[in-house]
């Protein structure tokens, strides 16, 4: 009833010193627990008084969650609590996996990148304004999608991948980790499991209340970047209304291996168009083996949008996605 905002309801705060303690706390508090990383998404929920967890587990004191390490296979392992600023500035990431540095460097603002973490950015919730305003939609456990209604305001919603819910994934780093074939390392009381980035993000058809595979009790501890795409040709672009702060209207991330003008291998992912960062594997298959050209890039763009179904206010996302895919595959990219 009351539209009270900007007063955080009380909670118990836990600041565990290591991953084991954190996982133990998560297990103990189950669905009453909330994992707090940089907090930039969490505080919005708390200040809107919509999410009221009983126990907040703040990860800042866990040293092993922070930092960037070389792995034996020549890749990198990035602690989930590593700040986006550190990801954007890290020499090895910039040199070999510049795609991720670019994506992290385009998140929001300097202050947010100083505090926000890679794990937090990847795990953030959707910004659908109906859902974030506390409306009882499918994603919030209700039985309708307000954003897909005939008169609804859905300029920033999805054109692909909808299943009842039409919200989009807002994470800038998500398409980058998908394009880099990253592995997501997850800990829980049951032990550790590793999930491919492309499988980590889930759409509403799988679970309409979650953005990722993480369930209560799970903790994303690190992101492993395999050596496979080191020093590939990368392209990242984020189209938004303002140069700072804004979430992407559409973003694209690509990794290309080109030999003698021929595309030998490619990864291509877009975000802002679907409830999850969308890897365009059909397009990937279509361009592998082709000579890199404006025509191939243009056709890839057209192919990418074939199944797009815009809503009332977001037709523009279809050509925008097409053009960004084209740019990501261009020779000049």
């Amino acid at each position: 009833m009351a539209m009270m905002r900007d007063m955080i309801p009380g909670f118990e705060l836990f600041q565990p010193a290591d991953i084991d303690d954190a996982v133990e706390l998560l297990d103990r508090h189950g669905s009453d627990a909330w994992v707090l990383a940089g907090g930039l998404d969490s505080f919005d929920w708390f200040k809107d008084r919509i999410k009221r967890p009983k126990a907040v587990i703040e990860l800042g004191a866990i040293g092993e969650l922070t930092g960037i390490r070389e792995t034996d296979d020549g890749g990198l392992e990035i602690g989930a609590m590593t700040s986006l600023a550190d990801v954007a500035a890290h020499p090895a990431i910039r040199e070999r996996f510049g795609l991720l540095a670019d994506a992290a460097g385009l998140v929001a603002t300097p202050q947010i990148r100083n505090q926000g973490t890679l794990g937090g950015n990847l795990c953030q919730d959707t910004r659908c304004w109906y859902y974030r305003s506390g409306w009882p939609c499918y994603r919030a456990g209700g039985n309708t999608c307000y954003a897909a209604a005939p008169q609804a305001m859905n300029r920033e919603h999805c054109v692909l991948g909808a299943s009842r819910c039409v919200a989009v994934n807002p994470a800038d780093t998500a398409p980058a980790v998908v394009a880099l074939d990253a592995k997501m390392v997850i800990r829980s009381r049951g032990g550790e499991r590793v999930v491919d980035a492309d499988d980590f993000f889930i759409g509403p058809a799988i679970d309409i209340t979650r953005m990722t595979v993480l369930e209560p009790g799970d903790l994303l501890t690190s992101v492993r970047i395999p050596a496979d795409w080191a020093n590939a040709t990368f392209y990242f672009e984020k189209v938004r209304d303002r140069v700072a702060w804004d979430f992407a209207l559409v973003s694209v991330a690509s990794a290309l291996k080109v030999e003698g003008g021929t595309i030998r291998d490619v990864r291509l992912a877009v975000n802002g168009v679907a409830p999850y960062p969308m890897r365009l594997d059909m397009v990937e298959q279509a361009v592998v083996g082709q000579r890199q050209s404006e025509e191939v890039a243009a056709n890839a763009g057209i192919m990418a949008i074939q199944r797009a179904r815009p809503l009332r206010h977001n037709d523009y996302k279809v050509p925008l996605m097409r053009n960004l895919v084209r740019r990501a595959l261009r020779e000049t990219a």
Binding site: F11, L13, F43, A55, G60, Q111, Q115
Partner: protein
């Protein structure tokens, strides 16, 4: 309005567990006695402390001083600074990490104090706008630069911008104008005084180079 029923009668007062909890919190040397915002323990935080959760009475290092303060688990740094430590130079323009008026330095790095818990900065060096000038009143090079360039209009954004400039000159004392704009891009000025603010930032870099 004759047909509107308005019930403003409280009926009998009931006593919550807060009354009980109040006796448990040792105010002592803590500044909570002079705190305004959360004078009581806060209704929702009144439940007994769970095992392993944070202690409320903590020491903060603010502007080079050690300050004992009673901090609720869900309290943001901006609120602690403004309502418990009397440091009202840190402004709240949006309380949502969107305007930068609340920017402070944590170990020299600029952060939105509206969007971090005070408990997250225990043991770290907090610098607010009040702590920038020297003890004798000598202005920080960034502040001097603003005076030299006549920066800001309404200046509600100014403390935040000044803190971001201070963070910038510490890491990049010789920025291009474009780099300075990027360094300050987490701060909003509705007066649109960006040109003058950039002049201040460039002057601040110059002063910090010559005084370093």
């Amino acid at each position: 309005m004759d047909d509107v029923e308005i019930i403003l009668d409280a009926g009998p007062k009931t006593y919550s567990r807060r009354t009980f909890i109040k006796g448990v919190i040792a105010a002592g040397a803590a500044v909570s006695a002079s705190g305004y915002l959360f004078r009581g323990p806060g209704l929702l935080s009144a439940r007994p402390t769970a095992q392993g959760s944070v202690e409320r009475l903590i020491t903060l290092s603010v502007n080079g001083q050690q300050r004992r303060v009673d901090v609720l688990p869900h309290e943001t740094l901006a609120m602690t600074l403004r309502y418990k430590l009397g440091l009202t130079g840190t402004k709240l323009g949006c309380d949502r990490a969107e305007c930068g008026a609340c920017t402070v330095l944590i170990d020299g790095v600029n952060h939105y104090s509206c969007s971090m818990l005070t408990h997250q900065v225990r043991g770290r060096q907090i610098t607010t706008i009040e702590g920038l000038a020297a003890a004798d009143g000598t202005l920080h090079p960034v502040q001097q630069a603003v005076v030299d360039e006549g920066g800001f209009q309404c200046a509600f954004c100014a403390p935040g911008f000044v803190m971001s400039m201070a963070a910038m000159v510490a890491t990049n004392p010789d920025p291009t104008r474009e780099e300075a704009a990027h360094a300050l891009s987490g701060n909003l000025c509705r007066c649109g005084d960006y040109n003058k603010i950039l002049n201040c930032a460039m002057r601040a870099a110059e002063l910090s180079r010559t005084t370093a």
